[in-house]
Amino acid sequence: MATLTLPVEEKKKTYEQEALITGAEAIAIACKLANVDVVTAYPIRPYDTVMQYISQLVADGEMDCEYIVAEGEHSQFEIVKHASICGARVFCGSSGVGWMYAMEALTVTPALRVPMVAMVGNRALDDPGAFGVEHNDALAVRDLGWMLTWVDSAQEALDTALIAYRVAEDRRMMVPLALSCDGAFLTHSQALVKIPAAEQVKKFLPKYDRGNLLLHPDNVISVAPQVNEDWVMEVRRQNYAVTEIACDVIREVYADFEKTFGRKYGNPFFEEYMTEDAEVVLLGMGTMSTPVKVAVRKLREEGKKVGFVRLRWFRPFAGPEIAKCLERFKAVGVIDRDFSYGSPNLSGVVATEVRSAMYAGSSTRPPVLGFICGLGGREVTVPDVEQMTDITFQAAKGKAQLLTQWIGLRG
């Protein structure tokens, strides 16, 4: 089930070639175009597709980088962390429990201002063992200073990988970024992708420059000392300062991306589909956009005015924009491909965040329903979407609904 719809406008032919590739392959090509210096790898499905493609590019002589196969994910992320502090542009990634095994390295990366770009091939966390998509793996770093973005097509994966390096390495930012790609639907499905020329990318993506944060004999610094209570709050405040300006930086980079490559994403933070006259909307992240869009078109034919909002950036979370967008609908149904046991209203992570954004950012607050759907790689089907839309319409009519409902569950 490859994503076929491209929600972008093309101004002119600004690409070098078109290829039929997977989302993972698209990211590997983006790494080549970004001239990444150090790549670390450790296999886990579905992330491993990207490491295979990169090793192929290196073996074919198309890409020149240090390619290190680590002995586990913790080392994998530690190695790129150190390489990045020494001035290398780095790439790595993982999936599911592999990402969790790297957790200690992941937690230290934002405070050290390491602009690492990592691909998370979203995968259910064991147990039970499953290869399929679930968003809890990437979401585990949501509070730690990582930027988190979800893509829904191979083209968007390639474009966002380039944008990721530009945003992460911006001297005002210098924090890591996880590029989340749904296992199977994105990582293993091939779609037609326009690949830009290396020259264009060079223009868009300046050289990585750490300035006085570079660990080098000519710039004698000591990184990550034990500091205790006298310094920790100040260090945390510095990372908080990054989040204060993150949305502005992202907007700037998308504008420049459009100027360079001619592809326009509009609002960087979320994509709106058939929302103009919609009474209710569904909201979700990642490749569920395909069945949801198909269902929305079908429901529209039946006269039901429903739209879809696909969230691209989860961190930073563009709270005011999202509140402003959603306050015009009569009800909102948030589809979570994740769970957050014991959370307020027992909702998924995205629904909880959306409600929080609405509470502060909007005076007219429509009901926000939470749906847990498509866990462990289960399909989000068109009938599922129809069911969620019906429930959301009921809420719009003022009929009380459970705030969290499981959809597509046997029982």
């Binding site: 502090i85 405070a111 201002r113 210098m174 004698v220 034990q226 205790n228 100040e234 260090v235």
Partner: protein, 393 residues
């Protein structure tokens, strides 16, 4: 609000951790015998599991629950009614792991209150090392060697009850001797300990230390920058490499002195310091190579001078030195500054060697040293000696 009292015990981790914890617990339990409420705790940021690190333990007492809560609503007491120092080498100041710099042992002590030091020295000798302060205070010595136990081990040499006896005398508001006696009899169940506490109580006296009296050693200072002014990336400027330096007499330049951290000197961890005989040094490099803190400066003569702002006093240099009496560890309380020994040696060799002979004569042989645990059966030998001191007072 009722009365609120805070007692502070300054000790060396890890060797006195159990002792300090016992004393603050005992204070709370003994004071409870007369109806007071209290808590005891160690200063969390100290990480007192590290060898020799200056650390603190507190007892807070109150007449009622609300008063106690007022005393607990802070990380540690800013002002204390009594301070006890369990090892006299700490009189030069305590440097916590946190960035407080070197602090005088009486920093938190209220004006006019008492500082108790466990020591074999008398008060005037201790004042050579204790920093001056503007407010007067009382200084009393509880005679005894520093009670140093091995890691996690408690050396039951009656220091615990003797300190309690001295506290009851110095600040009876904490606990009466009757309450202390009841606690020792009922909880520690050892009549001999009651006697030890009573002897300490009876004999404890203190002198008044006047404003401005004490060591004039200056405390180093540093800035605590605002978050906007700090380097980001949890990075700090590294130390430059260092390099050769000049002989104070001949002005000949040579050797190598590393540049050391100005903000964290850590010498207050030291209970003994190496004393070097530069005339017998064979320049074998072993002390310099084995020093875990790179604390040796290579002199222009290519001998090795322990930098006493950096040295933690671990004694590894003495252990690896192949020349007899070339490096000798001597009790830190014998010294009152951190001057370079090599510079003194260069100024006047004969005078230095005479001083050296006299100084290392005071050093106890390695197997009998006051600080630390060295051999099996050591406590069995040391405890009767300590009890003898306790009896004599």
């Amino acid at each position: 609000m009722g009365q609120l009292l805070a007692v502070e015990i300054i000790y060396r981790g890890v060797f006195q951790k159990t002792l300090a914890k016992n004393i603050t617990r005992d204070i709370v339990l003994a004071a409870h015998n007369e109806g007071k409420l209290g808590i005891s705790f160690g200063r969390y940021g100290d990480a007192p599991e590290r060898n020799g690190i200056p650390a603190k333990s507190f007892a807070i007492l109150a007449d009622d629950e609300q008063t106690l809560e007022a005393g607990m609503a802070q990380y540690e007491p800013k002002h204390v009614d009594l301070t006890v120092v369990l090892d006299d080498t700490l009189c030069k100041g305590a440097e916590s792991w946190a960035w407080y710099g070197l602090q005088p042992v009486h920093k938190a002590l209220k004006a006019g209150h008492t500082l108790i030091v466990v020591s074999m020295e008398d008060a005037p000798a201790l004042l050579k090392n204790i920093h001056r302060r503007e407010e007067p205070y009382g200084l009393g010595v509880l005679k005894g060697a520093a009670s140093f136990s091995g890691m996690w081990v408690f050396k039951d040499d009656h220091t615990e009850v003797r300190v309690l006896g001295a506290i009851a005398k110095a600040l009876p508001e904490v606990m009466s001797f009757a309450s202390l006696e009841k606690f020792i009899s009922e909880k520690l169940k050892n009549p001999l300990k009651v006697t030890s506490a009573r002897t300490a109580y009876d004999r404890f006296t203190s002198i008044e230390v006047k404003a401005g009296e004490g060591s004039s050693a200056e405390l180093y200072k540093f800035e605590m920058p605002r978050w906007e002014d700090m380097r980001c990336g949890v990075s700090v400027k590294g130390q430059p490499q260092g390099g050769p330096y000049a002989d104070p007499i001949t002005k000949e330049v040579g050797g190598f002195r590393p540049v050391r951290n100005e903000l964290f000197k850590k010498y207050s961890t030291r209970t003994m310091r190496p004393v070097v005989n530069f005339s017998t040094c064979t320049k074998c490099t072993l002390c310099w190579l084995n020093c875990p803190d790179a604390s040796f400066d290579v002199t222009p003569d290519l001998t090795y001078d322990a930098n006493l702002e950096s040295c933690c006093g671990c004694g590894i240099c003495e252990a690896v030195c192949p020349v007899k009496d070339c490096i000798t560890m001597v009790n830190e309380s014998e010294f009152h500054d951190n001057k370079s020994q090599w510079a003194e040696f260069k100024k006047d060799k004969d005078a230095y060697l005479k001083w050296l002979e006299k100084t290392i004569a005071t050093a106890e042989p390695a197997e009998k040293r006051s600080h630390g645990f060295r051999y099996r059966g050591q406590y069995e030998e040391q405890v009767p000696e300590a009890l003898e001191i306790a009896r004599k007072g």
